[in-house]
């Protein structure tokens, strides 16, 4: 029996890289968040931000500059940056979980249709809700993420049922199912657009583009518990998700309760994605890019990929939203457009590099 620690060069090197990367990402995220809080249509210096947040009510009331900074920060800037962090972290976590669950690096909530399902759930509530007599006001704030979650869940279950059977998973089936669902939801939302009135129409258009413009504290408060719950559930199953990479039957032979893990991870991903889509519309590619980059650098251990994807996802989203706000200032480019502009070429490059694995 070995009494000394066995040398494991690749494992140790990966662990060192993982620690470095996670630390680096955390630092970069902090700096990016600071930049996002200060920059925008109304620029502030970090010291102004600090004074506006820490000053007393009287001090703020007497100084108009401080007053304006305080107002911008609390009603616009902070909720928006926080929502960006939440979106990035939530999609990063869900993307890493889905890629592990489907045992495929191309699984992304958007590509396989889960984001669309969420959008359909939310849009249906917006347009058909009043017809069913749903009340408006604070209560509807919670109904929206719930409707989106229901839509995301139905699609996740459908896609999994279609593409996985007898412990095996067919990638072409998965992606084709995603294509079909995205098309169906596009048509359904088109139908809803037809029967919608003007106010509803504006909301519906916003789903297809995706933006953080609607960030307000009540909205954040409604969405945060869903995302937190989803992320916590995914984190609990990191080791089981690693074992699942061997295959469902093999994981079962190791004692992993595979059915329960599959169900929980799917529900948790649908929960995070659904809640986020309900307040931002469909923002794609973060769930694909973030976990993939972390995996390339640190190896496929889910216990590293998930936190890394959350950090990188948050970093990418905060920076992308900063660009969205400043590039065409004072107008705003919808965030979904920016992430698609950057994410789609990345996806193409991914495909190019994996040609041999994907059948060519």
């Amino acid at each position: 029996m070995n009494t000394q620690v066995a040398p494991m060069p690749l494992v140790d090197r990966r662990r060192r890289v993982a620690t470095l990367m996670l630390t680096g990402l955390a630092v970069a995220l902090f700096l990016a968040t600071l930049a996002a809080i200060c920059l925008g249509a109304y620029r502030m210096t970090p010291s102004l931000v600090w004074s506006a947040l820490s000053a007393s009510g009287d001090a703020i009331a007497s100084d108009p500059a401080l007053q304006q900074a305080h107002a911008v920060l609390l009603t616009i800037r902070l909720p928006r940056v926080l929502l960006a962090l939440l979106v990035g972290a939530g999609f990063g976590a869900a993307g890493s979980a889905l890629q592990a669950l489907f045992r495929n690096p191309l699984a992304d909530p958007g590509l396989i249709g889960i984001s669309s399902g969420a959008a359909l759930g939310a849009s249906t509530l917006i347009v058909l809700g009043p017809l069913l007599g749903a009340s408006i006001g604070m209560v509807s704030l919670y109904f929206l993420p719930i409707a989106a979650f229901a839509g995301a869940l139905v699609v996740s279950a459908l896609v999994y049922r279609l593409a996985a059977a007898r412990g095996r998973l067919a990638l072409p089936l998965l992606l084709l199912a995603g294509i079909a669902i995205n098309a169906l939801v596009g048509a359904a939302i088109g139908l809803l657009t037809y029967v919608a009135d003007d106010a509803q129409l504006r909301s519906l258009t916003f789903w297809s583009l995706g933006s953080l413009g609607g960030a307000q504290w009540p909205v954040l408060g409604a969405v945060l518990p869903f995302v937190l719950l989803g992320v916590m559930l995914i984190a609990r199953h990191s080791h089981a998700l690693n074992a699942l990479q061997l295959g469902e039957t093999e994981a079962q032979h190791l004692g992993v309760p595979t059915q329960a893990v599959k169900r929980t991870v799917l529900v948790a991903s649908a929960l995070s994605v659904g809640a986020l889509v309900s307040c931002t519309g469909v923002i794609g590619f973060i769930g694909l890019v973030a976990p993939h980059c972390v995996r390339l650098a640190c190896g496929p251990d889910q216990r590293v990929v998930m936190p890394g994807a959350m950090l990188l996802g948050a970093l990418l989203t905060v920076l992308a939203d900063l660009a969205a706000r400043t590039v065409a200032s004072p107008a705003e480019v919808p965030l979904g457009i920016l992430t698609a502009l950057l994410g789609a070429p990345f996806f193409l490059m991914l495909l190019w590099r994996s040609r041999s694995q994907l059948g060519l």
Partner: protein
């Protein structure tokens, strides 16, 4: 004992196994032979407990009793079952570039509390790789391995799963018997590794007091290493016994539908089958 009695498995309307009974004794290596598609993997699945959990065998109807050390398989929770039996599957290709050590470490999953491997686990990983003849592969990513190399890494993982803990190691005959089920373990291996693997498994049945069942395609390989050979044909075991008793032309022909004749291989070995 790991045994199954009156096992009947049908896929839809087609019966695969009819009223089959098989016992795996600790300390012995049993080789299971049969034609392609006769139901060897199905029998192995039944012994592994795959039919007890839903979702694993959709569309298959199953009846019969399977017990492990006297307990019915469906009463043993998955976590404890993983400590009592390990299954080496046919070739599978994980999608992500895990390292060889990470794969073998996954074999320690049922032993880990809280998911963090200890120094002891890492030592077991190194020993398992050596025992499986795969320590030259340490530090490689599994996507760069050949089929045979990956098969040896999976074998190391299964060994890590069954590695005896301190209590078992000192007193193997009184330890709880455990079982190793191997589904065509020699299929991807070259000649040397085929014999080496079966020699290793046979040695483990003695050293670790485990009962092993291996599905093998080559009757001569089986006759060389197994304590018992079971022939599966038409959904039933047509012969089961020591290699010398089972390696008969009529039995092999009934099993495979292929005429053979026996060549003498010396006093110490069962006869060798060659085409008639």
């Amino acid at each position: 004992m790991l045994m199954t009695n009156n096992l009947c498995v049908a896929h839809g309307a087609t019966p695969i196994l009819r009223d089959l009974s098989l016992t795996i004794k600790p300390g012995t290596l049993t080789a299971l032979l049969g034609r392609n598609g006769v139901g060897k993997s199905t029998l192995l699945k039944a012994l592994a407990g795959d039919f007890q959990t839903n979702g694993s065998a959709r569309g298959a109807r199953y009846s019969g009793t399977t017990t492990l050390n006297g307990e019915p398989l469906n009463t043993i929770p998955p976590r404890r079952l993983a400590l009592l039996r390990a299954v080496l599957p046919q070739a599978s290709q994980p999608a992500f570039p895990f390292s060889v050590e990470e794969i073998v470490l996954l074999g320690r999953y049922p032993h880990l509390r809280g998911g963090v491997p200890s120094r002891h686990d890492r030592g077991i990983v190194a020993d398992a790789l050596t025992l499986a003849g795969a320590n030259g592969l340490a530090g490689r990513e599994i996507t760069t391995l050949s089929g045979g190399e990956l098969a040896r890494v999976q074998f190391a993982r299964v060994l890590a799963q069954l590695w005896p803990n301190a209590a078992n190691a000192n007193d193997s005959t009184h330890a709880t018997p455990r079982y190793l089920l191997l589904d065509e373990p020699t299929a991807a291996l070259d000649l040397a590794h085929q014999h080496r693997l079966l020699t290793t498994v046979r040695g483990l049945t003695r050293d670790w007091h485990i009962g092993a069942l291996a599905i093998v395609h080559d009757p001569n390989l089986a006759a060389r290493h197994a304590d018992t050979i079971a022939l599966l044909a038409d959904g039933a075991i047509i012969a089961q016994g020591a290699p010398r008793d089972v390696m008969r032309p009529d039995l092999i022909e009934q099993c495979y539908g292929f005429a053979v004749r026996m060549l003498d291989a010396g006093r110490d070995h069962a006869p060798v089958a060659v085409p008639a």
